[in-house]
Amino acid sequence: MAIYKLKEFKIKWGMVIDLDKCTGCGACMISCQAENNMAPMPDATDKLYSMTWMLVYRLSNGKPFPDHDIAYLPRPCVQCGNPNCVPVCPVIATTKDEEGGIVSQISPRCIGCRYCMAACPYRARYFNWHDPVWPQGMEKTLTPFTSTRPRGVVEKCHYCHHRFKAAKEKARYDGRDPNKLDEDDYTTACAQNCPTGAITFGDLMNPEHKVAKLAKSPYAFRLLERLGTDPQLYYMSKREWVRRQGDNYLEHEPTKGV
């Protein structure tokens, strides 16, 4: 049950990540950090402090050799249709109110209470414990497209929202409707840079976009789907054990998908 009134969207930007294609190389994580102006971390091995809007998890089927199998699961913010992070924010720093359904995060408005971090079941939110510091010369890698965040605020993946805006500007320049973007007009940095093409990005509501078809695949599933968060991010895998780890199944319950 939604605590607050959900908006209906005609466009829903979404992803389908093929876990059978993902090799766990981490190119998506790096592209995300470069794209979104993240300062290099003093100690990136310290997972309490590292900022990784996109994070690759390692899954294992837990069986001994020769049946052992692993999979990698990249996890950005899944842009819940019914986000837990939004109603808990006391200052409306995070909302889901723009056509496209991307959950916004306005860091200058955030007071750093971290309620949203506690509420997010996907651990997709990160707190800035330190001010970002760019070593001398590296500040040249900063882009004007994403605003940097100071110490004391929360941040998260926004599907490279600046690229969405840029795509709309380009459409306007070409005399096209900015609300009818093609699949190639807008994609995220992680999807663009994934060497195996495991990430597909597009409008889930537009039947002409690949994601719309892939999301309906019998192998598609969403993380913790039964929480009712209605994510705009799908995964797919032909391996049953991978799909089974996507949700909390009781022993006797069959796994979703074929």
């Binding site: 109110d97 916004s104 004007p144 500007e169 380009k170 459409a171 306007r172 320049y173």
Partner: protein, 180 residues
């Protein structure tokens, strides 16, 4: 006797009230803003009416739909490689910026904070003067006031102004429409 005493009692409040008004309306704004000067005078009139240039010659859209804003020194030097009119402002521009290959540090009346996103092409149907001062007909720079605390221009459009226009025209006021 009792009446007189009462009026004396009120006096400090009246004085205090007037003092607060004078401070709040008169002194504080003066203290908060400092007046700044543009580097030199640039006449839009002489470029448009005398030379016959078009606004879009300098303020144009790139092919990706983004807006060029103020021309770079390199673009201006297409004409102003050398001093042409012996005008004191042109001499400053050519000698201190063109020859030194430096950008002019113009003060921008509407400069927005880093986390604000504004698309010129999405607002194309409006006159520039809806948001910008009418510099194209000005004989002198409008006064530029800088907020001493925030360092922003006093005339930078406030969020409520953006939101009001969006509300009036039925445009979305979702956070991510204007923020990044």
């Amino acid at each position: 006797m009792a009446k007189k005493k009462k009026s004396y009692l009120l006096l400090p409040f009246v004085v205090g009230f007037i003092g607060a008004l004078v401070f709040g309306w008169g002194l504080f704004p003066k203290m908060l803003f400092s007046e700044k000067q543009q580097p030199f005078w640039f006449s839009h009139i002489s470029h448009v009416e005398v030379v016959g240039m078009d606004c879009y010659d300098c303020h144009y859209y790139y092919e990706d739909g983004s807006f060029s804003g103020i021309p770079t020194t390199e673009e201006c030097s297409a004409c102003h490689m050398d001093v042409m009119f012996d005008d004191p402002d042109e001499i400053i521009f050519v000698e201190q910026y063109v020859w030194e290959e430096k950008e002019v540090p113009w003060l921008i009346y509407q400069k927005q904070p880093d986390n604000v996103y504004f698309s010129h092409i999405a607002h194309e149907m409006y006159d520039c003067q809806t948001c910008h001062p009418a510099v194209e007909t000005a004989e002198a720079w409008p006064k530029y006031y800088e907020n001493r605390l925030t360092k922003y221009s006093r005339d930078t459009m406030k969020m409520w102004e953006c939101e009001r226009c969006h509300a009036e025209t039925g445009t979305s006021n979702a956070c991510y429409v204007c923020h990044k």
